[in-house]
Point group: C2
Chain length 201, copies 2
């Protein structure tokens, strides 16, 4: 028996991620269909302390790296925070509960590198795309995340040494979920879409 | 022989989408892993004239509908354009080549319904997330798309009757690809990410 086997908190995790359980289809994990990832993603606010595997961090970053962007400008930079002191400093910017997660991922963007259309900030759109790739890839790996948009940007900038030229747009905790929240309510399809003409319901 | 069988342009499509070809795994199509969707998505600029199945349109809208947003505000509205005259009017706003696609999807957003952080426009981030869900879901179904951000917003607003209170942020053609472009170059992982501190390479 290893020390891990003696810790009941580890049992579920071991069962879920045991290689034997999913070796039938792939040596890593069962195939998850794209739409199942979309359906199963939740905002997770409680995390297990287990560290996130380095290969999983690289997996979610790879998904962000491949994201499309305005004229392929790739205006983004992601800071992976797992140092407890740094994590605490970031979490203090507005959502201190996020410090319980083993990792925080902070999304920065260059505000003028993408193009602009009138007053619309396309860097916000581009970082939204790339960060959501990361968040969906995390769900695909059984990792929880939670979009955090409301925080004091200057606090995060100082904690991570983000240069003046860059903006901090959002961050997310990343780790194995310790809760299974229900899906959020969404508007019906006919409330968010119409044919050939804008028609709100 | 049906008229479709006599049209050589239809043969590839029939082969690709024949029920027999993928019935081994599922009656609809083979399972596609999440990361394969991320890897296989391309900006498609040439489309076959074949109409898009209604169920595929509902599938991509469903992916958008389930997207997360600031305080679940779901500030979006999508207009599905397949009427040739309306399509032409939208395409004339900036990317007339898009009119060759059987469908255009226009993404509108309410600019103040999501929250704001300082000067950052979170509606741009939210519509980026939802539209990218739609674009990835299209790739999952073998449908091509292409983010279009540079166009005359007022022209699209007029063509679709979009109310003053809403913004048109982006649109995409939607249809079966008539080209197979190579993947775009992307920055290396160590150029877009660092640990515990912002470090650009």
């Amino acid at each position: 028996m290893t020390p891990e086997d003696r810790d009941p908190k580890q049992w579920n995790r071991k069962t879920q991620r045991s290689p034997a359980a999913h070796m039938i289809i792939t040596p890593r994990r069962p195939l998850v269909e794209f739409m199942d990832v979309i359906r199963q993603r939740r905002s997770i606010r409680k995390y297990r302390p287990d560290p996130v595997l380095q290969e999983d961090i690289e997996y979610v970053l790879e998904a962000a790296r491949l994201a499309p962007s305005w004229a392929n400008s790739q205006c983004w930079h992601f800071v992976i925070v797992n140092d407890p002191q740094v994590k605490k400093a970031v979490a203090q910017a507005g959502n201190s509960w996020t410090a319980q997660a083993p990792v925080l991922v902070v999304a920065c963007a260059h505000p003028t590198r993408p193009g602009t259309k009138g007053d619309q900030q396309y860097y916000m759109l581009d970082i939204g795309i790339a960060m959501e790739h990361l968040i969906l890839a995390a769900a695909d790996r059984g990792l929880g995340t939670c979009w955090i948009g409301a925080f004091k940007e200057e606090v995060v900038k100082k904690a991570l040494g983000v240069p003046e030229s860059m903006r901090v747009v959002a961050f997310t905790p990343l780790g194995y979920p310790a809760e299974s929240p229900r899906p959020q309510q969404r508007k019906a399809l006919n409330q968010i879409a119409s044919s050939n003409r804008y028609e709100a319901r």
